[in-house]
Symmetry: C2
DNA sequence: TGATTACGGTACTTCTCGTACCTTAACTAG
DNA sequence: CTAGTTAAGGTACGAGAAGTACCGTAATCA
């Protein structure tokens, strides 16, 4: 029982330091986040899980919130290629479904908890915005990409190639979460955002007529 | 020095109870919210300010968050009549400016703090949504009103009279606050929301202004 | 090999939530 | 007017977590 490894107590066969220790701490923090959410992320628990103590944490991150954001960034390291279904409607719906899936997943809950806990701290929010799946900066780029393809196909007016337009659907989806606090947004809302707002906006309501809905 | 009234210690000349005491507590809570924000809203401080103690608070509200929401509702009891500038653009801009003004004011900061602290609790969010100035349900009704007038004037397509369309500008504005954490949104963003998203959406991009391509 | 860095262990202060218990004032019913 | 009930006020306490302070010691580096 000299090295009762696994979680918690670990007999210090060798004393970790630097990047190795930092990795272990972030790993532990990510686990705690996944299991207990942002509210359950306490410095003591993370330290225990990482087999170290609070000192090592506070030497690296000034407080639990910054640590939480750093740990989240490790969870959310996925890459995203914009969908290419052949139609703007299909692409847009796919983008929203991906976003909805992320936001309603445990990661989404963590993300929302962190955003809430950040309480408007610009630095932390900027850090979180770097997560492509969170509707951040990279997400906007993806929307512009598929908008560009739609313009090339003649499906959208060139004027629609605008950042504000590109971020609109995501903003509307996020709004559902922020203001309603629901665990997940039904698919009908996604199609409504696409058919009632996004498509009319990019292709014009006039001559072309509505989407599938009249 | 028998009754050292004002704030804090108040010699109990007469012991308040019921609605009178409740009012005093809410008043104190509202003051604390205004001065110290949501983070500074502690039960002890509120009790001290109200000249009572925590018991009286916990007998009425289960925790500090519910008390905070109740106190906020007292701060935000204003009525709102939709603007009527004669043009849809003017109305929309005025609506957004009002919202921006609210959100960037101390009240907006409190509101955002409460939304953050509510952390997705549907009940509390619903309660907060009852504040017309917060972009809540009443706000959506106002947008529909001015949209209706625009349709009557021929400024907007009848299809634009849709809740999802009506809530879009507010959602985009809120999005700026949520994702960027800025203290206030510049007016240029408001006009961009109106000119690049809202107006093209409700009046169609075709003949009126933007693209002739469909 | 000796100096420096930074981990690990532990204890501590501070804060705040939420609860418990008891005394006493205000109200209410008879 | 008195007795009984309800609800304030006072105070103390336990729990949980943040963040700080020291100190001995293992790892690394000059």
């Amino acid at each position: 029982m000299a090295r009762a490894g696994q979680e918690g107590r670990r007999a210090a066969a060798t004393r970790r330091r630097g990047a190795v220790l930092e990795d272990a701490i972030l790993q532990a923090a990510a686990e705690v986040l996944t299991e207990s959410g942002v509210a359950g992320l306490t410095m003591e628990e993370v330290a225990r899980r990482a087999g170290t103590n609070k000192n090592a944490l506070y030497r690296r991150w000034p407080n639990r919130l910054v640590l939480g954001v750093a740990a989240y960034r490790r969870l959310a390291a996925a890459e995203t290629a914009p969908p290419d279904t052949g139609s703007l409607r299909g692409d847009a719906l796919e983008m929203l479904r991906r976003a909805n899936s992320t936001w309603s997943s445990p990661y989404g809950e963590i993300l929302r908890g962190l955003i809430a806990a950040a309480d408007g701290t610009e630095e932390l929010l900027a850090e979180l915005r770097r997560d492509p799946r969170a509707g951040g900066d990279a997400c906007e780029a993806a929307w512009l990409t598929l908008l560009g393809r739609a313009v090339a196909r003649g499906e959208a007016a060139p004027e629609a190639l605008h950042p504000r337009v590109a971020s609109a659907p995501t903003a509307l989806l996020r709004n559902e979460y922020v203001t309603r606090g629901v665990p997940a947004v039904p698919d009908a809302v996604l199609t409504e955002i696409v058919d009632e707002v996004f498509l009319p906006l990019v292709r014009g309501r006039g001559p072309a007529g509505g989407a599938s809905a009249g």
